[in-house]
């Protein structure tokens, strides 16, 4: 198994946010979803830098929406996880699960 087949920590979080949001996944909703669930402040720059990296690897794809007045006539860019991205998130998830299995982290450290 190659190292590049796994997702980094923040890449993993972003892909999970995309999966949760489905059709509504664009910069604002992804940022807010991550902030709400992880309770950490995330910059829009970090989201886009990560999404660009994921798109380069072929894990996500994007399409432009229609321009809207509340965005000053600018379009939203909607993101979607590809089959290759799904495989990568599953692999990463399995690796985490396998490594943490039997450690009872929640009981021990919470």
């Amino acid at each position: 198994m190659l190292h590049r087949d796994y997702l980094g920590e923040f890449e993993h979080i972003v892909v999970l946010a995309l999966l949760r949001l489905g059709e509504r996944a664009y910069g604002v909703t992804v940022r807010q979803e991550i902030e709400t669930r992880t309770r950490r402040e995330v910059s829009i720059g970090a989201i886009y830098a990560t999404l660009a990296r994921l798109a380069e690897k072929g894990y996500v794809k994007s399409r432009l929406g229609d321009p809207t007045p509340e965005r000053g006539g600018r379009s939203k860019r909607f993101y979607q996880v590809t089959a290759k991205g799904m495989a990568a998130v599953n692999r990463t998830h399995r690796a985490f699960h396998s490594m943490s299995e039997g450690l009872h982290l929640v009981e021990r450290y919470s």
Binding site: Y26, G27, V28, R31, S43, I44, G45, A46, Y48, A49, A52, R53, L64, T68, P69, E70, R71, G72, R74, S75, K76, R77
Partner: protein, 220 residues
């Protein structure tokens, strides 16, 4: 997310985001920030929203610059070093050109200056050289930005920082080795600041022109 925004976001912050955001993402990033700014301004007030916008801008620029570096480190290194060599090679051209013209004028056109002519001579000798060198810096900033393709601002910013760091570093080392007791902020160091700003401006000009061209293409 549907209400129209009450006030525009901080202009300089919006300009900076547009400058540093990569071409294909510039529209989405500025649109996302504007959308959230409008929401926040309606909920918590404009002052709080402006503060949030500035914080997001600074963080976004840091992320976009570091992503730009990681994405094409050799392109950036090549353009920065190329720009530095170009500046070392062409930096003195305006000085030489202006001095040559002034010398020619003095020897062949007007050997004896009147007081206003002498003042004009001094003006060109002092300010003309300065303006010429600043213009050359801006031109080199444009060339570096053109060569850096989508990473114009990362390259020109890196070159600006390099230009600032080299003389400051030498100034820090020199007193230790030679025991010089000169003031730290010499006029040439103040000039270096001007040079760096002009290189950055050259990058900004290329970036803005490319963004405008991309917008024209997408709207056509």
């Amino acid at each position: 997310m549907s209400q129209a925004f009450v006030k525009p976001p901080p202009r300089i912050a919006a300009w900076l985001v547009d400058l540093f955001a990569p071409g294909e993402h510039a529209e989405s990033i500025t649109g996302d920030l504007l959308e959230e700014f409008s929401d926040l301004a309606a909920k918590s007030g404009v002052a709080s929203a402006r503060h949030w916008y500035w914080r997001q801008t600074m963080k976004a620029i840091a992320h976009l610059v570091s992503a730009g570096f990681r994405g094409a480190p050799w392109t950036i290194l090549g353009t920065v070093l190329g720009g530095y060599v170009l500046l070392a090679f062409c930096g003195s051209w305006p000085e030489r050109a202006i001095v040559s013209v002034l010398q020619f004028r003095r020897h062949h056109v007007t050997p004896y200056y009147t007081w206003p002519q002498f003042q004009a001579y001094l003006f060109w000798l002092n300010n003309g050289i300065l303006m010429g060198r600043l213009l050359i810096s801006m031109l080199i900033g444009c060339i570096v930005a053109l060569a850096a393709k989508e990473r114009e601002m990362v390259s020109t910013m890196a070159l600006s920082c390099l230009l600032l760091l080299v003389p400051f570093g030498m100034r820090l080392v020199q007193p230790a080795s030679h025991g010089a007791e000169e003031p730290f902020l010499q006029p040439d160091l103040v000039f270096v600041f001007g040079n760096s700003i002009m290189i950055f401006m050259g990058g900004a000009i290329v970036r803005k022109n490319r963004s405008a061209a991309a917008r024209r293409r997408s709207s056509a």
